[in-house]
């Protein structure tokens, strides 16, 4: 995913908007909690009704939330209660899946903690904005910058 912050030409510079160049190769995207927090504060990200919306230009991108930060069971995918140390999650695994090998090799304890929002982009928008080999060529970036300049966004 390639985004760019576009600033107003003031002193100090003020964020005008965030531009999107491509949304990556797959519709799935995990946004870190830190990015979401700062984006919500800056006004270019909103959360609601099961959707995460990036208010980027030239058009807002609407992602469906699949998982929010927190602990999840690797066996049954259940959202587990959160505490400071993971004790409640370990208790769930011990009682509900005792002795079973974790299906997730990256989480041998049988539960994992997400520090990101797991999202998937609307398929129509993904097809429109997904990355292709052309997305990475200088020509395409130049073309995008030209379009942004035509729209009066000189920092594009």
């Amino acid at each position: 995913m390639l985004m760019k912050r576009i600033y107003k030409q003031t002193d100090p510079p003020v964020l005008d908007h965030v531009a999107i160049f491509h949304t990556g190769t797959t519709p799935e995207q995990n946004f870190s909690a830190g990015l979401i927090d700062s984006g919500v504060l800056e006004g270019w990200i909103s959360l609601g009704q099961g959707k995460l919306t990036l208010h980027v230009r030239p058009e807002a991108l609407v992602y469906t939330l699949k998982k929010i930060p927190g602990r999840y069971c690797c066996h049954c995918q259940e959202k587990l209660p959160d505490d400071a140390t993971g004790e409640l999650a370990r208790s769930h695994v011990q009682h509900a899946h005792q002795g079973a090998t974790s299906p997730d090799p990256q989480s041998p304890a049988g539960y994992r903690m997400l520090n990101h929002y797991e999202c998937v982009l609307d398929s129509t928008q993904h097809n429109k904005w997904k990355a292709s080999q052309d997305s990475f060529s200088p020509g395409t970036l130049r073309h995008t910058r030209k379009l942004l300049k035509e729209r009066g966004q000189p920092n594009g």
Partner: protein, 159 residues
Amino acid sequence: MANQIFNIALGRVAELYNRVDTNDPANSALIIVLLASTGIETDAVLKDKDDLAAVVSGTTNEATNTGYARKVLTDADIVAFAPDDTNDRVDLDIPDQTWTAVANDGTGAIGDFLVCYDSDTTTGTDANIVPLTMHDFAVTPDGSDITAQIATAGFYRAS
């Protein structure tokens, strides 16, 4: 010990991150590795290592605590590549990383956190994994979860 960039990755970190972000080549990923604190070599020695196999070839060892496993971050996992034109730099960020129920079963403490680049997670060995950055991460596991909190600006800045 201090945070540092491996010599083999100098001038390359942002581009290798971007390669993962654009899934080019397919199956490329960032690999997060924890090093055990016992036996860890000096920054000067480790900085010269050119691949992950070399990093752990001396007295330095990867953590073996129960509950620990490497993290594999693909294009969907890492934060969008976003050049900062106002400050003329690129900050590279990843979500905080949590290892769940990490035991101190005679394996000792954790000393460092590595971000590495693997061009193809489906093949190859540690000799094919390029170490990028190394960060102080001193923690003694006690069976609870361990979270590596990534700085607000990210784990690496190219400027």
